[in-house]
């Protein structure tokens, strides 16, 4: 890489500009990464609480439906399940956390009163009602978990991309630019030294020539002086 650039002053200036920009970008991205991780930690705490609630309500719901199955029989439970008319609906809005768009899920018709469920009140027992209620609670917790876990997934993706960018700048782009800068600086210094050496050589040669000329002139003048004496 370092050998690909031409060692000119113009290139050196360009590389210095790029180094300045990359360093600034690197600092900003590093701050972004740290900020995202801090936001992520908050969400993680929240997610752990939501998960605990979710697991609890899942256990409760399972117990309730097993009880209903044991008391009423599987067919009755399935029959009641098939009779449901109201269905839970989700609407998604979005929220922005440090440039990451995370969803906010709102639900309707999750909790239903007895007469909204659709299966007859007379034909079914309280066990089935209890199971239905437990599962409605579970659905609410699932929706919460979905919201928090989607936010976590999106933030993790963003953290990963930012981390990759920071590393690319820190371990690839910036070292290459520094190499190029050093290469050009050394080449330019070498050229300067060569130039000085050349100048010295020329100066020495010129002086030599001048000396030679002077001695020649002197040599020519001396015989003339001798002839003048005569």
């Amino acid at each position: 890489m370092a050998k690909d650039v031409k060692p000119t002053r113009k290139n050196l200036m360009q590389i210095e500009d790029r180094i300045e920009l990359s360093e600034r970008g690197h600092d900003t991205l590093e701050k972004k990464r740290d900020g995202l991780i801090m936001e992520f930690m908050d969400i993680l705490d929240q997610a752990q609480d939501v998960r605990e609630d979710l697991d609890d309500s899942y256990d409760r719901a399972q117990r309730a439906i097993n009880m209903a199955r044991a008391m009423e029989g599987d067919v009755a439970v399935r029959g009641a399940a098939a009779a449901l008319k109201e269905h839970p609906e989700l609407t998604t809005q979005s929220k922005n956390i440090m440039g990451v768009v995370v969803p906010q899920i709102e639900s309707s018709k999750v909790r239903k009163s007895l007469d909204e469920r659709g299966y007859g009140v007379m034909g079914t027992s309280a066990r089935i009602d209890e199971a239905a209620e437990a599962y409605e609670e579970l659905l609410e917790n699932i929706i919460l978990a979905a919201e928090v876990e989607t936010a976590m997934k999106k933030m993790l993706e963003e953290i990963e991309t930012t981390k990759r960018r920071v590393n690319a700048l820190e371990f690839k782009l910036l070292p290459d630019l520094y190499d190029n800068q050093e290469y050009i600086e050394q080449k330019l210094e070498e050229q300067e030294r060569e130039e000085i050496f050349r100048m010295k050589k020329i100066k020495a040669k010129k002086e030599e020539e001048e000396d030679a000329l002077a001695t020649e002139e002197e040599a020519q003048e001396e015989p003339e002086a001798v002839t003048a004496d005569d």
Partner: protein, 107 residues
Amino acid sequence: MSQEIAVIGSPEFTTGFRLAGVRKFADVPSDEKDEQLDDAVEEMLNDDDVGIVVMHDDDLSHLSRGVRQDAETSVEPVMVTLGGGTGSGGLREQIKRAIGIDLMDED
């Protein structure tokens, strides 16, 4: 746009959710999960009307590698798994990769 919740799993798993009003479900009997679960999950993931897919954590092991990865990383719809504790559904692995440490380590 309003979306729905979908449930995939054995008939015993889905019945309870249907009791709570979930309309979209895929019943896959336990002995046919290896063959049918992949298709059921793919179908739900490609359905625009589905906002959340609910599955049991144990069922993820019946999925083929590609489908499992799609399911675990999918954001629309998002997959919620039950019965696997915190960090189930590939989240723990993703955190380890992105942050560099296992934040869900309970020890």
